[in-house]
């Protein structure tokens, strides 16, 4: 039934589940990346500075033999880490939900369910994809306000409900896939019409190369830095405790600065590793979307180059932030913007394609 609704000219059924998932997925990735850029510019460094100050206050409380002050200091460190952690999780969950939506769009031809049910599942998936990161973001601000539970706040409930909604949608999609592999062809559609264009080939090979780069850097980090950083953290904390016992403000300040440097070094290494791999996966997924980008070949190539240039540059300059400070940080932020611009350009192409699909269907 659904196959009849697919335009032979566009290969994309108007208002189909696949289309909703492509739109929704790309929009989630764009919003998640904009949020990540805002977080990097306005929250990350300030939060790191405050965490260092609070750790220093806890050490000074230890120097003044104030056990209660120490506990209070670490409680504040915990709150700052929660603030930072929930924002990173919001960024990660929103972009990852976007990747998953694109992946689900790819498998829609093999989901043997009536088209209405597929659309309902796509809507449920997208609703869960919004609820989960929004809930995570609010955890730090709502805490246990008006919560009847001893340890779980309303924001956590929203996030967990979003996660449960996603699981329901994924179970539904799995059920449809299972039916397809059992021979059921309800709602069967044509597969993704890859056409071996320059844009597709470049995204496939560029994406795999980015994943490879992320993997190579991860290997290098695990071999040369990880153990040294772990031992360094214990050494610095031991030093901070000793300086607190000696009531040496200069010694404590030095230890806290070293701790901040170590935390920054670890954060940029992990961010570079994960961003290269995630951008690689994004490029691979976007290769499948290319047949639906209704733009001239020249513009398609421009967006592909913009996206890949940003994907390569952002993690590289995040790494260089330790050596070149704000200049490298600024270049990394601009690279993030390039990825967002490339992605938005492709999204506009998909919107134009859908307009064409609807006009053909009409």
């Amino acid at each position: 039934m659904a196959s009849a609704a697919i335009s032979p000219e566009t290969g994309f059924a108007p208002m189909s589940a696949g289309r909703m998932l492509v739109f929704g997925g790309m929009a989630l990735i764009v919003v998640g990346m904009v949020f990540g850029d805002i977080f990097a510019v306005f929250v990350l460094h300030q939060n790191g500075g405050r965490t260092g100050e609070t750790l220093m206050a806890a050490a000074q409380a230890a120097a003044h033999r104030d056990g209660a002050g120490v506990r209070e200091g670490f409680a504040r460190v915990g709150a700052l880490l929660e603030d930072r952690g929930t924002k990173i999780d919001t960024h990660v969950h929103m972009t990852d939900a976007g990747y998953l939506a694109l992946l689900l769009a790819l498998v829609q031809p093999y989901v043997a369910l009536p088209s209405q049910r597929k659309k309902r599942l796509a809507k449920i998936f997208l609703v869960g994809s919004v609820m989960l990161p929004v809930g995570i973001f609010l955890i730090h601000y709502f805490g246990l306000l008006y919560s009847p539970f001893p340890a779980i706040g309303w924001a956590s409930v929203l996030a967990d409900t979003g996660g449960a909604v996603l699981i329901v949608a994924l179970l539904g999609e799995s059920w449809g896939l299972w039916r397809y592999f059992r021979g059921d062809r309800t709602g069967a559609e044509a597969g993704v019409p890859l056409d071996n264009s320059w844009s597709e080939r470049t995204l496939l090979s560029g994406g795999t190369t980015l994943v490879l780069l992320g993997f190579l850097f991860g290997n290098w980090y695990a071999y040369f830095d990880l153990y040294a950083q772990e031992q360094g953290e214990v050494r610095i904390l031991g030093m901070l405790v000793n300086q607190a016992e000696a009531s040496s403000v200069a010694g404590m300040t030095d230890a806290v600065n070293q701790y901040g440097g170590l935390a920054a070094s670890r954060a940029v290494s992990i961010a570079a590793h994960s961003h290269w791999i995630e951008f690689g996966l994004l490029a691979l997924l976007l290769a499948f979307v290319q047949p639906y980008v209704f733009l001239s070949e020249t513009w398609k190539r421009r967006w592909v180059k913009t996206l890949l240039a940003g994907s390569l540059t952002l993690p590289l300059f995040v790494l260089l932030e330790l050596h070149f400070g704000l200049i490298a940080g600024g270049i990394a932020d601009i690279a993030g913007l390039l990825v967002i611009v490339g992605l938005t350009g492709m999204l506009v192409g998909v919107v134009r394609h859908s307009g064409r699909a609807e006009s053909v269907a009409a």
Binding site: A62, G67, R201, S205, L212, E233, L237
Partner: protein, 162 residues
């Protein structure tokens, strides 16, 4: 559907399910205890310093370091199984586009799948056995398999179709 494609798609799905189940088990039964232990050790270290009980303070900091060593590896194993499974599924969807002979593609798929299973498993074993040679070899070997196979796949994608 070619054999290499099937291997990546079904291998990726099974690995994803396994990674999620491990993550669920870890989140429900292990993670909170480890995190509570880490926070308690760190606070205890500074409280002991406030009481000028330095041996206890250093002991608590060492306990924090040991707990964090385990925590990092357990979380890494979970996230790498999940991430690599997603990569296998995405590559599986388009693996016929790798411009190499099916025999070569099959070897690349075997390398990707075996490396994706072994590398996080080696990392997990490190947390159980304090970084033994076997665990480290497994992690390094698995990572090398994925790396070499990915290089082959990238080259295959970049080649023009015959």
């Amino acid at each position: 559907m070619s054999g290499s494609r099937k291997m990546l798609l079904f291998g990726g799905l099974i690995l994803a399910a396994f990674g999620m189940l491990y993550g669920l088990h870890y989140a429900l039964f292990i993670e909170h205890q480890i995190l509570d232990g880490m926070g308690a050790s760190l606070t205890e270290g500074f409280v002991a310093a406030a009481s000028r009980e330095m041996p206890q303070a250093q002991e608590a900091i060492e306990a924090y370091g040991a707990a964090k060593y385990k925590y990092v590896r357990q979380v890494d194993a979970h996230s790498h199984w999940g991430g690599l499974a997603m990569l296998l599924i995405v590559l599986g969807a388009v693996f016929d586009r790798v411009q190499l002979r099916e025999n070569m593609r099959r070897w690349l798929a075997i390398g990707l799948l075996a490396g994706s299973v072994l590398f996080p498993f080696g990392v997990l074993l490190q947390s159980a056995g304090d970084g033994g040679m076997f665990a480290s070899s497994l992690a390094v070997g698995g990572a090398a398999m994925v790396t070499v196979a990915l290089a082959g796949v990238a080259a295959g994608f970049a080649r023009r179709p015959e």
